[in-house]
Assembly symmetry: C2
Homo-oligomer: 233 residues x 2
DNA sequence: GACTTTAGTAGCCATCCGCTACTAATTCGA
DNA sequence: TCGAATTAGTAGCGGATGGCTACTAAAGTC
């Protein structure tokens, strides 16, 4: 192997055009919806866009994403996490060479529909998007599904007190698959994540449900073995 | 809520200085080591650096990371995954405003020590690094530990045939904790990931070990319930 | 009051998994 | 030559996990 000398080459930074792209997700009609903006320019190549913007001078990506989310929603999102950086190979509507993408979760609120050029669209019925935005939406859902077990994402989509059926519905919606009621509750008990309040809520028909609040308690770190999940290259 | 009109503002991209930063990890002495480069400039603020470079014109981040890895190692890494984008708030040695960071895994090879300005350093004994590089190393280890169950990372660090003890050692090293032998093997059998060859290897003392090869077989997707792992905000 | 609807629980049973305790095959040293 | 040491590999106990069926509970509807 020949001698190599890497650092001696002294890399230097290069300027690239960058964007912050945001996939805001919300529960809607038993499914997940993402916030799309209608293009202002009727002749633009992309009629629908994820909210995006350039980072400001010296602004860290996380701050830029939070600023963008607040600008679109009027309020901060319930959760905000970085997805990944996407680059050339997938076209960006603003022709940014680099996109740092984020996923935000927003509690369901029909009133939040106010901005006339913004629309919540079911993630199963997306219109044509720029390829990079399409990839970001897909990655956003994946990130949520992978992180939901390690982070109280579902709880942040609910008010401070909630019924266990509501909680389960959020989990099913974020995971995109049904869960078994008894198993869900048993696992929840074992995880010491919620505690009952002394309130009950009667909503239409059926037995009233007890309200719970998110109150995670410490539990011994059950360090597992290896799971060999899903490995298939 | 006032009317808002987001897209009408027509965001435009802005140029920022960008870098690709790389944490190459390898098994070494029963622990994980990361490849550091010694700064060429003796008076530089940072004496040790992760390999990094600017992306070339129109080059996607993944390609840039692969190019960088090949340049440093002479060969492609066994695995290469994006970690995250880091921005201002943590200083980069080249003052890049934005870093897209990657983690690469490299099989143990003592001969790979050849580059005179490169050094494998145990991740528990890192020298002082630029804060952003320090954060990247920490995040690199986290990414590996989170992905190891879903991706055959460990197998890529081994030659085509290997003993189960070698495989377990790689898992323990990547996870940073010991695993129980019998449980490890039972889970491995259940996962249909390896198949025995008809070869055995006798290495020093002790009973010879049978050699296995990585040969993942399809298995029904065991769609689990919710795990409520580790949730603690 | 019978029926429907939603909430919540009991408990069976198969699987998972940590662990102890073994057996097997080799090298080393007396 | 024959233990002792060392590494490979397995058996199987027993507790925990988790999917599922089948129940009970409390409300509204007709």
């Amino acid at each position: 192997m020949r001698e190599r000398s890497i650092a001696a080459q002294r890399p230097s930074v290069r300027a690239v055009t960058a964007a912050i792209d945001l996939a805001l997700l919300t529960p809607r009609d038993g499914s997940l919806a993402v916030l799309l903006l209608r293009s202002a320019d009727a002749r633009a190549r992309d009629r629908w866009l994820l909210p995006w913007d350039a980072p400001r001078h010296e602004e860290p990506p996380d701050q830029a994403a939070m600023r963008l989310a607040r600008g679109v929603l009027g309020v901060p999102p319930a959760a905000l996490e970085q997805i990944a950086a996407f680059g050339n190979g997938r076209r960006h509507p603003g022709e940014a060479q680099l996109s740092v993408s984020f996923v935000g979760l927003v509690p369901h609120n029909p009133a939040a529909q106010s901005a006339d050029n913004a629309l919540w669209v079911d993630i199963e019925q997306l219109p044509l998007l720029a390829p990079r935005h399409r990839a970001i939406v897909d990655a956003a859902v994946d990130v949520v599904r992978k992180r939901i077990d390690q982070s109280p994402l579902a709880f942040r989509l609910l008010p401070p007190s909630f019924t266990l059926s509501e909680l389960q519905a959020i989990y099913e919606l974020l995971l995109g698959r049904p869960l078994h009621k008894a198993s869900f509750r048993r696992a929840l008990q074992a995880a010491l994540l919620v505690e009952p309040t002394d309130e009950w809520r009667s909503e239409g028909r059926g037995r009233p449900a007890q309200l719970y609040r998110y109150a995670p308690r410490r539990r011994r770190g059950t360090r597992r073995g290896v799971r060999f999940d899903l490995i298939a290259d």
